[in-house]
């Protein structure tokens, strides 16, 4: 009976995604998405990696941007489309159903002004992230920006210990509500920098366990060594 109920609960995980994220991030994420959307300029071509239910994509659309959302879940893609249609902004939205390592199969080099991703990349270990960062570097036009917001490993050792305890305590509610495996990485800015970006700003929340990193793809200069041509 318990098992049966549990299976039923797991089945409807995507439907409760939005409020589950709000609960598990203590309402922080809506604020962060608003902040990210404020960085969007009218006419920007924006890529939202792991667009989910489209809460960030719709905010970007409202800023008169052209938004491309990519997500591996058909359900989530449909939600993004629905929310954009309800806002009457679907004409500037393109959605792609594919996974995060397939970006370059769909988009040409330099096709975006801004790449954003919230609560997606924290699911992946460092190797995955490095892979995605390399792709993002190619997809952004020179001078384009990248904004990543996700859970990370806190900076200090002591905070990491408290974080590990907190994560242990939140482990059951996390899998009850969100079903999101977390591999919080240390030094997210470092991974982004290694992808060839210049870090512009780093903001931290919740004892540095949640970071928003804003970076810029450098304007190509033949004299700059080590740049991807």
């Amino acid at each position: 009976m318990l098992m049966y109920g549990w299976m039923k609960w797991v089945e409807i995980a995507p439907q409760r995604y939005d409020w589950a994220v709000t609960v598990m991030t203590f309402g922080r994420l809506d604020h962060i998405k608003e902040r990210i959307a404020n960085e969007v300029r009218a006419g920007d071509h924006v890529l939202d990696i792991g667009c989910g239910t489209g809460t960030l994509a719709v905010r970007c659309l409202r800023k008169s941007a052209y938004v491309t959302g990519i997500d591996s879940s058909k359900y989530m893609i449909e939600q993004t489309q629905r929310h954009a249609s309800e806002a009457g902004l679907a004409d500037r939205l393109v959605v792609v159903q594919d996974s995060v390592t397939q970006l370059r199969k769909h988009f040409g080099d330099g096709s975006f002004d801004l790449i954003v991703s919230t609560m997606v990349l924290g699911e992946f270990p460092r190797e995955y992230l490095s892979y995605v960062m390399r792709d993002c570097r190619a997809l952004l036009r020179p001078g384009g920006r990248l904004i990543i917001a996700d859970e990370v490993l806190p900076d200090r050792l002591l905070t990491r210990i408290f974080y590990a305890i907190g994560l242990g305590l939140l482990w059951i509610p996390n899998f009850l509500l969100l079903r999101r495996p977390l591999f919080p990485i240390a030094d997210l800015p470092g991974v982004i920098r290694a992808g060839g970006f210049q870090i512009k700003s780093i903001e931290s929340w919740a004892a540095s366990s949640f970071k928003m990193v804003s970076a810029e793809s450098p304007i190509l200069d033949a004299a700059t060594p080590g740049m991807v041509p």
Binding site: M1, L2, M3, Y4, W6, M7, K8, V10, E11, A13, S72, S73, K74, D98, S99, V100, T101, Q102, K105, E123, F124, P125, E127, Y128, Y131, I172, F175, R179, R180, P181, F183
Partner: protein, 421 residues
């Protein structure tokens, strides 16, 4: 010595918490000293599975590709759309597998078939997914046989170890659920927990000895046996009637819980509690039938079915037919893998827990009235040819098939079959 104790402790911990997600790190694991010709095995990132697979692969130079199943076992994750072709493609891309090995073959757990679209993996990465054995215990035999599955590696088994793990982990979940009672009424809590463990271990250990669940026969048998034992004990120890009635109530409740747990989504049964209450059996809603005009004889359905539902026709026609629909446990792996949507559904209903198939409700509700004549294959005698179950010509019977879910031990025939395409 310490390592072995640590391993054992870790294993026990995971067995008790089997119903929880334990994600382990994603990526490529080198087993031994693999080279460019070494085989590649695929796994989800459920910690217990990865540990067990690594143990089975010890001594073999190979790669283990751990893809994202969100810390769940691969079968549940595949059905829930939490382990799909996208996760496999990501793992292949990030590991740069195409440059690491010369061949283009990945041996995947067959339980990933309900979720992974192998044609998409092939299209995006060039890698062919070949199905490995159903149970990871068979991995060494599978490798020794030259990466070929013998027929007995196809079918779902529910061996003693599986049953014990299932009993312990489920009983543990209930014990944790009622743990708060222990604060106010510890004796009752410990007795009830002990009873839950006992009933589950009793029911699952002796599982093959009880009758098949038809008209609640299995549940009634277990309840009657345990009630008799308790009544004898009560008489022997001189319990008060009120005490006996209280504990009899608890016992019946636990037996009912166990019966209803079997309704869930297990590799043996897939039914709803409503169906069980109304019919007293665990039969699946889904009942496959194949449209011969659509079947292209790729035999993927045979290769991914853990319940021996399908057989190939090799008479005038080269198609696959359904011979034992009542064995189906509705994992829908056949449905997911069929490239031409040739599989129809006799009942028009699905249980609804498989989320990995787009338009499942529409496809499963398609009219199958033009396929009524295909029912003639139900119960047809089958034999093995080249390892593949084949309908034996002129041996069609209308006799009822062997009762479902009891078939695991009968698949004695052991001939080799080339996996995959």
């Amino acid at each position: 010595m310490m390592t072995r104790i640590k391993d054992l402790g870790w294993e026990l911990f995971h067995i008790f918490f089997r119903h929880f997600n334990f994600p382990c790190k994603l990526g490529l694991i080198n087993v031994g000293t693999p080279g460019e010709n070494s085989p590649v095995f695929l796994s989800g990132n459920y910690t217990l599975t990865v540990q067990r697979v690594l143990r089975k692969l010890r001594g073999i130079d190979c790669y283990l590709l751990v893809a994202n199943s969100r810390g769940s076992n691969v079968w549940c994750a595949a059905g829930m759309n939490e382990f799909s072709e996208y996760d496999v493609i990501d793992a292949i891309n990030v590991a740069n597998l195409g440059n690491l090995v010369k061949h283009r073959r990945i041996i995947a757990p067959v339980y990933s078939a309900p979720g992974v679209d192998i044609s998409a993996v092939k299209r995006e990465t060039g890698f062919n997914i070949k199905w490995g054995p159903t149970h990871l215990d068979d991995l060494p035999r599978f490798i020794a046989a030259g990466f070929k599955r013998t027929n007995d590696m196809f079918q779902v088994k529910f061996g003693l170890q599986d049953r014990l793990e299932q009993a312990v982990s489920t009983a543990w979940c209930y014990t944790m659920t009622i743990a708060l009672i222990g604060l106010v009424w510890p004796i009752f809590f410990f007795t009830v927990s002990g009873l839950i463990f006992f009933v589950y271990l009793f029911g699952f250990t002796l599982y093959p000895l009880f009758p098949e669940e038809r008209h609640w026969r299995r549940t009634l048998t277990i309840t009657a046996l345990l009630t008799t034992a308790m009544a004898l004990w009560a008489l022997w120890s001189g319990w008060a009637t009120a005490d006996f009635l209280l504990w009899e109530g608890v016992l019946v409740a636990v037996c009912l819980l166990m019966a209803m747990d079997c309704c869930g989504s297990t590799p043996l049964h897939k039914s709803t509690i409503k169906h069980w209450l109304l019919n007293g059996d665990y039969n699946s809603h889904f009942s496959p039938v194949i449209d011969p005009s659509l079947c292209i004889n790729c035999v993927q359905c045979i290769l991914v079915c853990p319940c021996d539902v399908f057989a190939a026709r090799r008479d005038a026609e080269n198609t696959v037919v359904v011979v034992k629909p009542d064995r189906c446990e509705e994992c829908l792996a056949c449905f997911k893998q069929c490239p031409t949507d040739a599989i129809f559904n006799r009942s028009g209903e699905v249980k609804g827990d498989v989320k990995s198939i787009p338009n499942l409700e529409v496809l499963a509700a398609r009219d199958w009235s033009h396929l009524k004549s295909e029912d003639r294959w139900i119960g047809a005698a089958t034999g093995l040819r080249g390892g593949l179950p084949i309908v034996l010509e002129g041996r069609t019977t209308n006799a009822p098939t062997v009762p479902p879910r009891r078939a695991a031990s009968e698949s004695a025939a052991t001939s080799l079959i080339e996996i995959g395409q």
